[in-house]
């Protein structure tokens, strides 16, 4: 990967002219510009839907200078970081702009069956961040089995999942996000309903998770999820699909598993709905 930016936030100036360092991690940091985050990272195989990928050395140099709250000026050709150690200029020239939009999926029942058969091997419920309590179990069951959800039920369900669990992206959010984008990719009406409901409600969760959910509502996901859906779109081999799925499962400490389970639930819902 060279220097890449998600088209969701490009050009950066459209997001705003100044921002602040929102959060810092060992290999990435977030810039907050108004309500939008820009995730700057150097992960070799990961680009957030609202992400900017730069070289490792560059990132480490910036991380060594910045502090949370530092001002960042956004210009068409550069980001200027105002830090106690001095100003740092990050050039935005020669960036590759990448679309992280969800592909449209059209899967047959056989394909779904085959997929779900493979996924069940992973026994994710014991590995997720979200403790699989009877209540969670019941909610998950509803996501799969209830064919029609009222607006009130959707709202209650969203409130149940959003912000539930710990971590930078709470487990409930991860599960919900994956469930949502899978339904959206499969052009399910439930996906649209969930998206519209999410857009209207205050998302009582972390800023980072909110940014992922907001991007998801616009059909934008992180690169591993996009790649997984692309593998489904072509459906060349189950081995490739499994590999892409496993890359999702590896995200974060438990986030990947929560998302993997969300995808599984959405596919289960789709399967049962299609079987009718």
């Amino acid at each position: 990967m060279t220097r890449i930016v998600s088209d969701y936030i490009w050009p950066l100036e459209k997001v705003g002219r100044t921002g602040h360092i929102h959060s810092m991690f060992s290999r990435s940091f977030n810039i907050q510009v108004d309500q939008q985050l820009i995730h700057v990272s150097s992960y070799p195989n990961y680009l957030s839907g609202f992400g900017l990928h730069i070289e490792v050395d560059e990132l480490q140099e910036i991380l060594s200078k910045i502090a949370i709250g530092n001002l960042v000026k956004i210009q068409s050709d550069q980001l200027v970081f105002y830090t106690v150690a001095g100003t740092y200029h990050l050039s935005l020239k020669n960036l590759a702009v990448q679309s992280l939009s969800l592909p449209k999926l059209s899967l047959s029942l056989d394909q779904i069956d085959a997929l779900l058969f493979q996924m069940e091997d992973y026994t994710l419920t014991g590995k997720m961040g979200l403790a699989f309590t009877p209540q969670v179990q019941a909610e998950c069951q509803m996501l799969v089995e209830t064919k029609t959800l009222t607006a009130a039920e959707i709202s209650r369900m969203l409130h149940f999942f959003i912000g539930r669990g710990s971590g930078l992206t709470p487990s409930g959010d991860d599960l919900l996000l994956a469930y949502l984008v899978t339904l959206m990719a499969l052009s399910q009406q439930r996906g649209t309903m969930l998206k519209e409901a999410l857009k209207k409600m205050p998302l009582n969760t972390t800023d980072v998770s909110r940014a992922y959910l907001n991007a998801a509502c616009f059909g934008v996901v992180s690169s591993p999820i996009q790649q997984f859906f692309e593998s489904l779109q072509t459906f060349v081999s189950l081995t490739e699909i499994k590999k892409a799925y496993e890359r999702i499962l590896q995200i974060g400490h438990t986030s990947g598993k929560d998302m993997g389970y969300g995808i599984y639930l959405a596919l289960k819902y789709y399967q049962s709905k299609e079987k009718e």
Partner: protein
């Protein structure tokens, strides 16, 4: 009852002392105290509080005065313990922080990349030190105030010409490349650049910018008078030009107290000509429109908001005025008033301006700290001189505000007490916490009386400040204080509590600028570098300023500054004037010390004094004496005793009474030894038939003479004149002198004293108080020659035994050698090196190379040291003798480190003390003499060439090792110790020297 203690040569910075005074005032039994340096200004402060005692009057500016008013006798003991602990803590802390430099040269050696000098020293010394900093190419940040306007103008012009920035004087706040300097908040770095002629104005604007999410990388303080007619905004213009070129600065903000009209217009022209948008607030002006490139603000808050909006998106609101609701509150009665008690001067001015405008109170005043005083409404700047003379600033010390809170609350008419809490580096560690107990107490009292009393505050700070903004705000709010996010809003709140609204600030139009544009001045590389790199600071004054500099990535070097010349303004002026001749003087001094280094003293003979000193061979009965000239009647006891002994020895009288009568009849002529190439120990009394050692300096053939050492016990030099004393003198005349003379003639060229001295110094002698090695080395040289003489064995034995028993025998030879060395160096000498130091028991006299034979005298001190059993300092005679010639040539106490054992004997401590003494002495000398290398000093040579400039500048006077004579004639030696040369003779010499260059000390 007033008690005084004066700690000599104990300089401490004024803020530390103010805090110490506060702590002492809290001690039980202390009615009032004041601890200050002994400057004239401080003495006036003591006088104003009736604390100026006689002892305090005598203190020098380098002395620490402690005056305590107490009814209890023992209070002073407690106070001194407390002071000692406080100062010890301070010195430990300072030492662990870093080893401070003692001079400009040392500071710049430690921090060669230094580019800023930060001053927080008393104003009276400020201008000359700042000039030095500018000369050395450093930008100046002067927290120091009380600099004369003329000096400010001169320094700023000088800085401008050199491409440097002169921030201040009286610049309380500054941020350079995100490094907070002096009393400053920790502000998020960003794309707004500020130039302000107002300390708290900068603090209010920068902290609001920070809390709004904006950032400031540079906030350059100019000092409050920069926009005056006289100064003409020299600093502001340079700073604006620099920020205009600073790539990362997008918006420039100017803050000024009411400026001179012409200067304001010039600044406006420059702002309009900048390539970046500018925000300006000229306090007191109420702009109705933004003009051209410049967005004009009425309040500090508005200035901050304009700057943030411009920095974020280049657009501004038409107004930032937010009206307060006055409906929901129980409004105070009409007659209730608002009292503002501010620690920030500009905040006080802003509050007064807003209140006066709203209530039509007739504008601002400037009297005794009042900024507003009308119809019961008052706004007071507690940082004004009236409240800060002898007390710390109210940002550091809550006591004045607590007192004023109480006074205001006592007044039934007070409805609102309005105040600020300024956070940041340098400010009190928890001002809110310190004020709260009083606020709660006063609110409770008011509530108990069913009376409405409100406290309204604004906190100037950021969350990055050491005290924490949110933490402070919460603390105040929890206690029932109305808290607002800006000073303007706090005023609004105070007025709203009275049911009044601020006069509405109308929407501002954008109008084109009609005036002239100017060319933006070019900026120097130094100024560019200042804004592009972290400042490297020489911190002269408060060491606490280093903390923030280091924490924010700057570098700092503490310069442990002390007032030059003990704060003597006349001397400071002379020294400063002489600085301009530094190279010339240094060259002249080098010539003098070169002669000292190249001296070749040889002991060539021992002869009757009259044979080599014609004055002792005249018809007029003549005696030589030690020290500068004086008459018999002026002599102290031991010298008079010596005179009697000499007369009895010369048989000019048969009894003590006859001798005394002769002396009192003025029949005896007295000449200082030094006037006839001679020197004499203690009384120095020398008569014609006394044998003298002849030392020839073979560098140029100069001869010098000194009587022979008589041993210890009852001896003439200490004023004894009994028969045994006279008999010994006769033996010395008849036996010792001729024997030594004959023995010396046996040697080819006498005794090479350089060799003997060099060898003996490595054996632990310093040649004034300890000569045992040199005496033995002398014995080693002379004995073979004595043995060869054709004289009786008995006589050989007598002489050898006397020499072997007389540990100090070499002292007198060393003195003659010293005299031969300096008399050679004096010939044609120029410059400021001391060529003679001597004492006559009344006066200490020195000579310097430039002025030849001229004496500069001052009353001698009495030695301090160890006394023989049965004697005390009371018995000691004031300092006496020519033996200080040893120190003049760099041995004696100057070489204390060569003979650490002596320090115990003279009561001056151990090895470390000896080392400290020699190091201190080296600091007033031109260099070191490689001819006499001292092993215990890492083989450095002895001190070489005492420079009166250094003595006067540092206040360090030469230390002299000395025997102590009893003050009464005839008693003799009673102890040994050390004594300091008095500073006054060096000051007189300096004035005389300056005069030779046409510099008048008046």
């Amino acid at each position: 009852m007033l008690k005084t203690a004066v700690l000599k040569n104990n300089y401490q910075d004024s803020i530390s002392l103010m805090l110490l005074t506060n702590a002492i005032n809290e001690l039980e039994g202390v009615t009032l105290s004041q601890i200050m340096m002994g400057t004239n200004a401080n003495k006036e402060i003591l006088a104003n509080t009736n604390l100026l005692t006689e002892e305090a009057k005598k203190a020098s500016p380098n002395d620490l005065m402690i005056v305590v008013d107490s009814e209890e006798e023992k209070t002073m003991e407690k106070v001194l313990e407390e002071v000692e602990t406080f100062l010890a803590d301070l010195s430990t802390k300072e030492k662990t922080e870093q080893q401070a430099a003692k001079s400009w040269d040392e500071a710049l050696e430690h921090l060669p990349e230094a580019n800023v000098a930060l001053f927080s020293i008393p104003g009276e010394y400020g201008a000359s030190e700042m000039e030095k900093a500018l000369e050395k190419g450093l930008h100046v940040f002067s927290f120091t105030d009380n600099i004369a306007l003329d000096d400010e103008v001169r320094l700023k012009k000088m800085a401008h010409q050199k491409g440097l920035l002169m921030m201040g004087p009286d610049c309380g706040t500054g941020i350079l490349s995100s490094v907070p300097l002096a009393f400053t908040n920790a502000v998020r770095p960003g794309n707004i650049g500020i130039v302000g002629a107002s300390g708290t104005g900068i603090q209010e604007v920068t902290t609001i910018i920070d809390r709004l999410g904006g950032g400031v990388t540079h906030a350059i303080g100019t000092g409050g008078r920069d926009l005056s007619e006289a100064v003409g905004a020299i600093t502001m213009k340079d700073a604006l030009a620099a920020l205009n070129q600073h790539e990362e600065t997008d918006v420039i903000c100017v803050i000024s107290k009411p400026p001179a009209k012409r200067v304001r217009d010039e600044v406006m022209e420059l702002l309009q000509s900048l390539q970046k948008p500018a925000v300006a607030i000229f306090l007191g002006e109420k702009p109705t429109a933004h003009e051209g490139n410049v967005y004009l603000a009425y309040t500090l808050e508005e200035a901050a908001k304009l700057a943030v909006d411009l920095a974020n998106n280049g657009k501004v609101n038409k107004t930032y005025f937010e009206p307060f609701s006055t409906q929901e509150q129980d409004t105070l009665m009409e007659e209730k008033v608002v009292k503002g008690l501010y620690s920030g001067g500009t905040l006080a001015t802003e509050a007064a301006m807003l209140i006066s405008e709203t209530l039509n109170l007739g504008g601002l005043v400037k009297e005794d700290g009042f900024v507003l005083k009308s119809q019961g409404y008052e706004v007071i700047d507690l940082g004004a001189d009236k409240y800060t003379q002898g007390k710390p600033h109210p940002m550091i010390d809550p006591s004045t505000r607590i007192k004023m809170f109480k006074e205001c609350a006592e007044d039934e008419m007070t409805g609102v007490i309005l105040f600020d809490v300024v956070l940041g580096y340098g400010a009190h560690e928890d001002m809110a916490g310190a004020l709260l107990p009083t606020i709660k107490e006063l609110l409770n009292k008011a509530s108990a009386k069913n009376r409405s009393l409100h406290f309204v505050a604004t906190v100037v700070g950021t969350n990055q400040d050491p005290q924490g903004y949110e933490q402070t705000v919460k603390k105040l709010q929890d206690a029932g204080v109305w808290l607002e996010s800006s000073n303007a809003k706090a005023v609004q709140r105070a007025l709203a509590l009275k049911g009044k609204s601020l006069v509405k600030q109308e929407e501002k139009a954008m109008v084109p600028y009609q005036g002239d544009l100017v060319e933006i001045p070019q900026i120097s590389n130094q100024l560019k570098e200042l804004l592009q790199t972290k400042p490297q600071v020489v911190n002269i004054g408060l060491s606490s300023f280093n903390e923030a500099i280091l924490e924010y990535g700057g570098a700092s070097e503490q310069f442990d500054w002390r007032p030059k010349a003990g704060g003597n303004q006349k001397m400071i002026k002379l020294l400063d004037a002489l600085d301009r001749y530094e190279e010339q003087i240094d060259q002249e001094n080098q010539k003098v010390v070169q002669k000292i280094k190249e001296a070749q003293p040889f002991l060539t003979d021992v002869v009757p004094a009259k044979s080599v000193i014609p004055e002792l061979n005249s018809a007029t009965k003549t005696l030589l004496h030690a020290g500068p000239p004086l008459a018999f009647s002026e002599m102290t006891g031991p010298m008079q005793g010596s005179c009697i002994g000499a007369i009895l020895f010369e048989e000019w009288a048969e009894s003590e009474q006859e001798a005394l009568a002769l002396l009192e009849s003025d029949a005896i002529r007295f000449i200082p030894c030094h006037h006839v190439h001679a020197v004499g120990p203690m009384g120095g009394i020398t008569s014609g038939n006394m044998p003298v050692a002849v030392v020839e300096n073979r560098l140029d053939g100069t001869n010098a003479y000194c009587t022979l050492n008589e041993g210890i016990g009852k001896v003439l030099r200490f004023g004894a004149y009994s028969k045994e004393v006279v008999d010994r003198l006769i033996w010395m005349r008849d036996v010792l002198g001729p024997t030594l003379s004959q023995a010396l003639q046996q040697l080819d060229s006498g005794i090479n004293l350089n060799v003997l001295i060099a060898r003996s110094i490595t054996m632990g002698d310093e040649f004034h108080q300890r000569n045992i090695a040199a005496s033995l080395n002398f014995l080693k040289e002379i004995t073979p020659a004595i043995i060869q003489l054709k004289i009786s064995e008995g006589r050989k034995y007598e002489v050898t035994k006397f020499l072997a028993d007389t540990d100090q025998f070499f002292l007198n030879i060393m003195m003659a050698a010293g005299k031969a060395i300096v008399d050679s160096a004096r010939k044609g000498g120029k410059g400021t090196v001391v060529t003679t130091m001597t004492r006559n028991g009344v006066d200490f006299g020195i000579r310097i190379a430039e002025t030849g034979d001229q004496w500069f005298t001052a009353p001698v001190n009495t030695p301090k040291g160890l006394y023989f059993t049965g004697f005390t300092e009371e018995d000691g005679n004031p300092d006496i003798g020519d033996s200080a010639i040893t120190e003049t040539v760099g041995v004696g106490a100057m070489a204390m480190i060569a003979a650490p054992g002596v320090t115990r004997f003279v009561g001056a401590g151990g090895f470390q003390d000896a080392l400290a003494i020699s190091n201190e002495m080296a600091s007033i000398c031109v260099g070191h003499n490689p001819a006499f290398s001292i092993p215990t000093w890492d083989f450095q040579g002895t001190c070489l060439g005492i420079d009166i400039r250094k003595v006067v500048e540092t206040g360090i006077t030469p230390l002299i090792n000395t025997g102590i004579a009893h003050k009464k004639a005839g008693v003799g030696q009673v102890g040994a110790g050390t004594v300091r040369a008095p500073l006054a003779c060096f000051e007189k010499a300096l004035a005389a020297y300056a005069k030779t260059l046409g510099i008048d000390s008046e």
